[in-house]
Symmetry: C2
């Protein structure tokens, strides 16, 4: 975190509070008060100062502010495998936007290849942010403790650490798995299959759990699980090929996410010459924008990104107002989006559930 050499261009002259004070014939404190809410200052002088400041482009130095007030506007965002799922970048974009609108500044801490979130978390903690949002990654409980000691709240977005008392905002993955199970069974399918994503992730685990449990409840026991190493197009593609190379072919496939589903679908149609949904139904999870394209028109479970962002911001506000607010897991439900990749029964069709 050490400052870099920064030879000034010409003679970079920064405008500081003293300049305004001299120019307007007031003290430096008064300048400060004009920029600090809930402080005693006459509206007249405040207006005068603000106006002059705007005209010359003065803004209080945030580093000095942080130093004196002992707090700052920075929220760290730790992200990993961002380009793997087209949904993460959007989450990142919206999150940082929401943060900015709430007066925070998002600082990005990408986890590079070969690194773990634990490697980059300290860098984020150096800025002593009130919050660090961990997006699509897991962090050791060790690191969690470090953060807590520094007074930083870790918020897991779209992931959670089971058993560990941390803040998290996730999609209701189990409910999604259940919804898909119901839908496929309703379509009349009895030989089902699941194509998995990254094994150790909570998303993968919970989607499978919800799916298989609901299947059992509905009396469907022929549910195959096909493992893959990772959430990816190619994973889905290869998994589908493997499954259909066997004799017992499924009638319907639920994929761990849309990307995997899209891959599976392309393998089924392109490589195996099967028709979707006539020969096999395919469903995904996330409802990424490509899933709505006519080329795939994928049935899926909508990932409630908007609400998750909103919940995250609410959480941040709550914690900010009450530092002793206890860790909670916010689980946001999504909804089924039926398109034409699953066999429609009785004229049932696009059924916009939300």
């Amino acid at each position: 975190m050490k400052p870099r050499s920064n030879k000034s261009k010409r003679t970079r002259k920064r405008i500081v509070a003293k300049h305004l004070a001299d120019e307007l014939g007031v003290s430096i404190s008064t300048i400060s008060r004009a920029f600090t809410p809930d402080t005693r200052i006459s509206p007249k002088t405040k207006a005068k100062i603000l106006e002059y400041a705007a005209s010359i482009g003065y803004q209080p130095n945030p580093y000095a502010q942080s130093l004196t007030t002992q707090n700052n506007t920075i929220v760290g965002i730790v992200v990993s495998d961002i380009s793997n799922n087209p949904f993460y970048p959007e989450a990142l974009a919206r999150l940082s936007d929401a943060l900015r609108q709430a007066g925070y500044n998002a600082m990005l801490f990408p986890v590079s290849e070969g690194q773990t979130p634990d490697d980059v978390l300290p860098q984020a903690l150096a800025f002593e942010p009130e919050f660090v949002i961990v997006l699509a990654a897991t962090v050791s409980s060790q690191a969690t403790v470090f953060a807590a000691e520094g007074g930083t709240n870790l918020i897991f977005f779209s992931r959670y650490v089971p058993g560990s008392p941390t803040f998290s905002v996730t999609c209701d993955n189990a409910d999604g798995g259940r919804a898909i199970a119901e839908h496929l069974v309703e379509c009349g399918h009895t030989r089902l299959a699941y194509i998995a994503g990254t094994p150790k992730t909570s998303t993968n685990r919970d989607r499978w759990t919800g799916f298989s449990e609901r299947c059992t409840e509905l009396g469907v026991t022929d549910v195959h699980k096909e493992e893959t190493g990772i959430f990816s197009y190619d994973s889905g593609y290869q998994a589908a090929l493997r499954m259909f190379a066997r004799s017992a072919r499924p009638e319907a496939i639920f994929c761990a996410n849309d990307i995997v589903a899209l891959g599976a679908m392309d393998a089924l149609r392109g490589e195996l010459g099967l028709k979707v949904p006539d020969d096999v139904s395919v469903a995904g999870f996330d409802n990424i924008f490509m899933s709505g394209w006519p080329s795939h028109s994928l049935t899926t479970y909508n990932y409630p990104l908007e609400q998750m962002i909103a919940q995250t911001m609410m959480l941040i506000e709550r914690i900010s107002n009450d530092p002793d607010y206890d860790p909670i897991s916010v689980v946001v439900p999504g909804h089924l989006v039926v398109r034409s990749s699953t066999r429609a029964r009785n004229g049932q069709d696009e059924h916009p559930a939300g």
Copy 2:
């Protein structure tokens, strides 16, 4: 940029240099020297300090550092319409990764709906970053001046401001347009069309210019230009429908980017029942990962993201070492990627040009 209320959890006790000084029986200055390169300090004490610091997780306060040294590690990244093109998020992710590896910290400044980059740039400038990278957006020359006055270097990524002396790193859009033109003509097409993207962008303009100019050079004069308001799937979809509602249908279409091309392709195949490339050839620009999917297998021009990031980092290093380095425009060439959305002639096929 004003600090937010931040009541401490329990009694948040930050570790500061004085603590180490007391504990190790040295002065604060010595602690500082242990973390500052090129300073006189005995290797022994330095090692002792660094070791102890690591054990208790001490890091110098970056705010204090910035205040005293008058420089910082922050690089602002101004981004807009990030979710419109799946390529931007990747650029963002890689850029911030590269920055971090170079010792910088990426701070995100998203341009929200209804805002312009000019609205958020001041927020970035408040942190007095040495650099602000402007991604996929344009900034008024007015704002450019403000930045320069504060000593901040603006670097346009994937955009440039014609005529204005600024730093920019762009893809060779004109070359790409030319390459596609050559390819389509080589395929034997004579009635060509271009589906545009966001009108005022340099990417859209340059791709069209290169394309149309090369067509002319090659003696092909029947080139239609179909405008759209924006780079999007739907733009491509609708534009294709409009074009094919007319009597003079093109034989080949070059789309301003892959997203537009994918939309056009789906309209052609799904809605109009045409075959690609048998009835019409379609080419895009960017080579986003979906373009390689079997479902579309789109011929395109590879966007040299990797090299552009590398060039950007080189630029940053140069400017950092020589603050009077004059503004330059770095233009990075990509290469043609032929897939099966364009009619192959003489057994010509996937021809990996890079």
